[in-house]
C-alpha cells in the first residue's frame, strides 16, 4: 500500500516510516502541511497519516483542504493533542481515525490497515462468513457449522466488528471505540473478558478456534485453513 506521512518531527517520521516499510508498505514523507497537501493532492495514496500541529498549514487545514478538493484517501490523525474535544474536531474536519501520541506501533499499524482495507460499500453486505461461522446481518443470527449460536446484542456487535475485518489485527482500543464508543482506557480488562466470553460461545463444542490473540497488539478472526505462514 502507498502511505503518506505528514509529520514535522523527523524522529517520529523516521520511526513510523521504518515500521510501515517493514510491514511491507510504500511510504512517502512530507515535513510540513503545504508539502503534504501538494503530495496528497497529486499522488494516489491509500492512507494518509497526518500530524495535527504542522508548520505552514496545520493538520486540520490540510485535511479540510483535501476533502474540499475531493481527495477521498482515508486520513488518520497522529497527534499529541488528545484533549476531550480534539478527537471530535479531527473527525469533523474529515479525518477517518484519530490516534493520540504516544502510541504503540502495533496500534498504528492495525489502524492504518483497517483504514486501507475498509470496504467502500459495507451496507450492501448482508451475510458475513469466516470459515464455518456465518452471520446474517438482516436476521441478526449467528450459526457455526449450521448450529445456531445465541449472542447478546453487544456480543453480536463485537463479533460483527471482528468479522468485517477478517484477517486483520484489531486492537483493544479499536474495539473500545468501535463497539462500545468508549474513548478512554479502562483499567480493568473489560475487552479481554468480553472476548473470552465470545470465544466460549463460538468455540464451545468445536475443535478449532476462530478468534486469535495477537500478542502485544490485539485480536484477529480468521478461518483455520487460511492461517498465514
Amino acid at each position: 500500500m502507498k502511505i503518506l506521512i505528514v509529520e514535522d518531527d523527523a524522529e517520529t517520521a523516521d520511526y513510523v516510516a521504518r515500521g510501515l516499510t517493514e510491514a511491507g508498505h510504500l511510504v512517502d514523507r512530507a515535513a510540513d502541511g503545504r508539502e503534504g497537501l501538494f503530495l496528497a493532492g497529486s499522488g494516489d495514496y491509500d492512507v494518509l497519516v497526518v500530524d495535527r500541529m504542522l508548520p505552514r498549514l496545520d493538520g486540520l487545514g490540510l485535511v479540510r483542504a483535501l476533502r474540499a478538493a475531493g481527495v477521498r484517501s482515508p486520513a488518520l490523525f497522529l497527534t499529541a493533542r488528545t484533549g476531550v474535544g480534539d478527537r471530535v474536531e479531527g473527525l469533523e474536519a474529515g479525518a477517518d481515525d484519530y490516534l493520540g501520541k504516544p502510541f504503540a506501533f502495533a496500534e498504528l499499524l492495525a489502524r492504518v490497515n483497517a483504514l486501507a482495507r475498509r470496504p467502500p460499500l459495507q451496507s450492501e453486505v448482508t451475510v458475513l462468513r469466516v470459515g464455518d461461522l456465518e452471520m446474517d446481518l438482516l436476521r441478526r443470527s449467528v450459526t457455526r457449522a449450521g448450529r445456531r449460536i445465541e449472542l447478546q446484542p453487544r456480543e453480536f456487535r463485537l463479533l460483527e466488528y471482528l468479522m468485517r475485518r477478517e484477517g486483520q489485527v484489531v486492537t483493544r482500543t479499536m474495539l473500545l471505540e468501535g463497539v462500545w464508543d468508549f474513548h478512554f482506557d479502562p483499567r480493568t480488562s473489560v475487552v479481554e473478558t468480553h472476548i473470552s466470553r465470545l470465544r466460549g460461545k463460538l468455540d464451545r463444542g468445536f475443535g478449532t478456534e476462530l478468534i486469535h490473540t495477537v500478542r502485544g497488539a490485539g485480536y484477529t478472526i480468521r478461518a483455520p485453513d487460511n492461517a498465514p505462514g
Binding site: 476531550v84 489502524r111 479499536m174 471505540e177 468501535g178 464508543d181 468508549f182 480493568t188 473478558t193
Partner: protein, 480 residues
Amino acid sequence: MPPADPSARTRPGGTLAGILRTTAFRVTLLHLALTLFGTAALSAVAWWATTGFAARQVAEEVARDMGVLQQAAQLGGLASAAVSVEARLAADRGGAEYYALTAPDGGRAAGNLAEAPRLPGWRNLRLEGGPAGPETTLLALGAALPGGGFLVVARDLAPVRELEARLLGAAGWVGGGALLLGLLGGAVMGRGVARRAAAMEAALAAVEAGEITRRLAAREGGDEFDRLAARINATLDRLAALMQAVRQVTDDIAHDLRTPLARLRQRLEAALRTAPRSEAEWEAAVEGALADCDRILGIFAALLRIAQVESGARRAGFTRLDLTAVAEAVAEVYAPAAEARGQVLETRLAPGLMAWGDRELVTQMLANLVENAVTHGREAGHIRLTLEARPSGGALLAVADDGPGIPEAERKRVLRRFHRLDAARSQPGSGLGLALVAAVAELHGMRLTFGDNRPGLRAVLEVPAPPQGTPAGASHPSPG
C-alpha cells in the same frame, strides 16, 4: 509582564504631588470649577437684578423731574421753572440732585451745575470736585423747554456705584472662599483616599512579594473601600487555595511518578547487569519496561484529563445526553469483568432520563465508579447500578457494592489525586479514578456523595435536569 515602574511603588499618600495625583483631588477640582461657574452665573443675575434696578430707578426719577419742570416752564415760563429748581435744590438734603437751567440767550438761570452741555437726551456727566467726592459721575437728561431755554436734570450715581462695588466685593469673597474651601476639602479628601489606597497597595505589594497570607483591612459593613477590600481578600483566598492545589499536585506528581519511574529504571538496570542469556529473556525485560512506560503515560494522560476537565473549558461542548443509555452501556461493558470476579452486576435504570453534559466524560465518570466497585468490591459480591428520576427534576445515579467501603473520615480525601486507601494499595490503580469522577461531577454541577451501603460503598450522583428546550446532542461517528 513589563518590569514594574519604580515610581509606581512610591506611596501616593505622602507627598503633595501624590495628593494632587489622587482621583479624589481631581474630582474635587472639577466640582470646584463647576461651583465657581455656578457662582459667577448667579452673581451675573444678582448684578442685573440689583444694580440694574437701582440705575433704572435713578433714570425714572430724572425723567419724572424733567417732566415736572417742563410743565412748570410751560405754565409759568422760565422764571417758574427756575423757582422750582431752586426749591428742589433747597429740599435736597442728600446733595444728589443737580440741575442746570439756561436762558434762551445762553445765560444761567438757575441750578447747581456749572457747566452742562446743551445737548438733548441721556448721557453720563463727570463732575470734578462735587460735594460727594473728588469725582462724581452723574446721570443727566437734557431737554429744551417749551418757552425757550434749556434744562439739564442730573442725579448722582454714587449709590449705584457703591452697590456695584459691594456686590463685586461680596462675589469676590464668596468665590475666593469657595475656591479655598474646595481646595482644602479636596486635599483632605484626597489625602484620606490616598492613605487608604496606599494601605491597600502596600498590602497587595506584600502579597506580590511572597507574603501570601497577608490580607487587606476590611471593616464589616463598611464603605465601598471596605467592600472592595473584602472582595480582593476573597480573590486572594481563592488564589492561595489554587496555589496550594497546584503545589499539592506538583508534590503528588513528583512523588507518585517517581515510584513507577524508579521501578522502570531498576528493571532496565537489572536487565543490563544480569545480561539475559536468551532472546526470550531480553524480550521479557523490554516488554516489562514498556508496560512500566505505558503505566507512567497513563498517569500523565489521566492527570491531563483531570486538569482539562477542571479548567471548565469543556462546558462549551455540552449537549443533551441520554443518561439511561450511558448507564446501560457502562453496565454492559463491565458485566463480564464483574462476572469474572464472581460478582453480580445488577441494574435498575429508569428509562429515558436525560442530562446536560459531555457524553464522553459522563461515560468515563460512570465507568470509573463501576470499575471501582468491580475492583474494590467483595469477590462474589453484589454490585448495584441504579438510575431514578428525582421528584424535583433531574436524576439520581447510584453505584453500590458490598465490599469494604470507605471509612467516613476518608470520604473527602479519596477524591484527591493519587489518594489511595491503605487497603487498596496492593490492588492495581493510580489513585486518579475518583479524582476524575469528582472533576467531571463538578463540571456538570452534579453533587457526588459517598454513603455507607451497610456493608460497602454507595456512591451517589445527583444529576441536575437539562435546561428546557435543548436539542438532543448529535452523536459523533466513531471510527472503524
